[in-house]
Amino acid sequence: MAQNILFYLAAVMAVATTSMVVITRNAVYAVLYLIMSLFAVALVFLSLNAPFLALVEIIVYAGAIMVLFLFVVMMLNLQGQRGDEATKRPTRRQMIVPGALALLLLILIVVSLSAGTPAATNAALSDPKLLGELLFTKHYLGVKLSGIILLIGTIGGLHIGRGGSIPSTMEKPIDDVTH
């Protein structure tokens, strides 16, 4: 019962904060809202009986990734100055079509989920030891791959961020073939 109350609280908080991320004009506010939304999701994890993951999320997601975001936002000093086109809030008109599509997507998923089988009750507690064991036996390949992905991420970030000028985005396309 306690989980449900916690869940609903967290859910409302998550939805609110994420929508604020999309709406705010100020980039820093957006990042902070995103961090709060991550906290909300962590709470949801708790309600789903996965305390280890909640902490992981807070540490990794909120801690590392968001800090990176904050760092970049600060560096580019996007304080959300007035009139800067980039941070202007999207106008109503622009929201209609994507909004409709997003809504449609939501309804579809909800419809497909509702037809699903009733929820099983005995939720397994996410015990880090069990999880670690599982990771290195069954999903050993997955771990290796995510290691590689991280490596790629770092190298990519380094290479691109090195400040080397990107070659002009696209070579002049082969001129028209016909005469």
């Binding site: 079509v97 994507p98 599509l101 997507l105 579809l108 998923i109 497909s112 016909t178």
Partner: protein
Amino acid sequence: MFYNNGLPALWLIPALPALGALIIFIFASRMPARAAGIIACSAISLSFLWVLNVGTTLVLGNHHHFVEHHWNWIAAGPFQGSASFYFDLVTFAFTFVVAGVGLLIHLYSYSYMKGDAGERRYFGYFNLFAAAMLVLVTAENAFFMFLGWEGVGACSFFLIGHWYQKSENTVAATKAFLVTRLGDIFLLIGLFLTATLVGVSFSQQSAWTQVATSSFIPGFGGLTGPQLILITGICFLLGAAGKSAQVPLQVWLPDAMAGPTPVSALIHAATMVTAGVYLIARFHILFALSPNLMLAVAIVGVLTAFYGATSAFVQTDIKRILAYSTISQIGYMFLGLGVGAWSLAVFHFFTHAFYKALLFMAAGTVIHSLHNEQNIYNMGGLRTKLKGTYLAFLAGAASLAGIPFITAGFYSKDAILWNTLSTKWGSPVIYGIAMLTALMTAIYSFRLIFVVFHGTPRKDIHVHLPDRLLTWPLYILAFFAIVAGFLNLPIVFGVTPIWEHSFARVFGEWQAEPLIHSHAVEWMALLGSGVLALGGAGIAWLLYSPAKAPMPEPAGDIATVENNTPAPYKAVWANFLFHGWKMDGFYNKTFVRGFRITSGVIAWIDRVFVDGIFEAIQAIVRGFHALVIFFQNGRVSRYAMVMLFGAVAIITILLIGSQR
């Protein structure tokens, strides 16, 4: 090597001039110009001697024919053609003329073409022509003959277009080649049809006689027997007409005078133009099988004779007069063939070769000595200056006109006229036209004499005396033009005609059997044609005697210019005849222009429509390209939107799918 089991090798006859031509072409750049002439003359003379050798063995040894097979050339299913030679009396007559007259003309052109820019090329092609003509007349089967037939056409193209710098010569050469080629096509169709009917080999006459005697003639490809023979005959007639410049396809010969005069003398008087006569003589059984075919040949012959005579009557260029007269004389030969007098047609070819070659060469000497002046109305009074040429020319013209008893022309033409009257295939109407033409022939030949040689010179051109090589061949030919007639004196003279008698073996029972036997009528016809000839000479004297030779006043209106030759006469009928009954203009307007227009249209169609289809396909593809590019405009959010749309679509499909 040149004799196999006692009989002289036949392949040597065409091989010698061919070898001459090859030597001249290969070593052209490394040999002096004169050397080419010497090689050519020696090659043709050796060939002539070998012809005499083979001929005498044939006649003295009383052989019917020699056959010499070499290799299996064409084996296209039912159409067989082996590279092999055949030599019988007809071949002897033709080879004698080709090699003999050819030799004289080679000698003549040795000095006539002295100093000409393309002399080596000239003699090379001259020898090649002789080789091709000899192959034509000594081939054993029609396909091998066709090799010579087209070779001769090609050589006449090279030689007419000898002075290729002037484009009129090129046009004349092309016209000659294409018109003869049209004839060749009909000949080829005829050959394919006969190949299925009786085969095309001249030595294996067995099939011929078997078809001739059998009542039923096998049809082929939807045609009944007689129909097949008629069509084949017509094809052969058109093929012969193409090469021998008979009425439907004779437009090329007058323009072929653009070539050097010895070329006209050899090719367009003596040898090539008579190839048609040789063809029909060889396939005489086929023609004899259907009477209306014979009638067709006779009509074409007499019509052409009349056409040639009327046009020659008004020409002003000395060579064009002789060209039209050649057309006319060959018309007589076709008439002879048409009435079944095969051997007499060959005899007329034999005599005609001598005096026509003589007339052309004499004309050449005249032109040469008047520094290339060809219009007879600019000449005159040459009788005193070029005495020898005058006498030879007189002999030739007399023989052409058919002056009775002394000239060869008289005997050969009269024999044909007599057969037209007396045999079952002949008819009085044709005889009448033929006699009228004989009269006109006499008139225009003596007009030539009086205008060119008699009277006072109209233009004071310094007459440059011709050297011996330009005159001696004339005298030899003049001798033959007179003497050759005695080979075939008419029976009424109480002596057996040697020519007809000896050729009876070749043409056997296919000779036309005479209907009228009384000698009196024959004498009457004989004297009649003699009187006509003399009368013609008289009329010519009256019209064109030196005092009254009227200068043709230049025509006022330029309207009657036919392919850039203005007509010199005032009278419309004269201009009409001058332009060869305007047939050439007619052909130009219809076929030549038609061909050019259609080819232009087709080339345009190909560029616009056929290519257009594929350009259209290309355009469609480019259209799709433009459509797709619309989404590729670089705005990232547009891509996201499309992705979203895609995702939604897929999910809905999956959902709907899973529901059912």
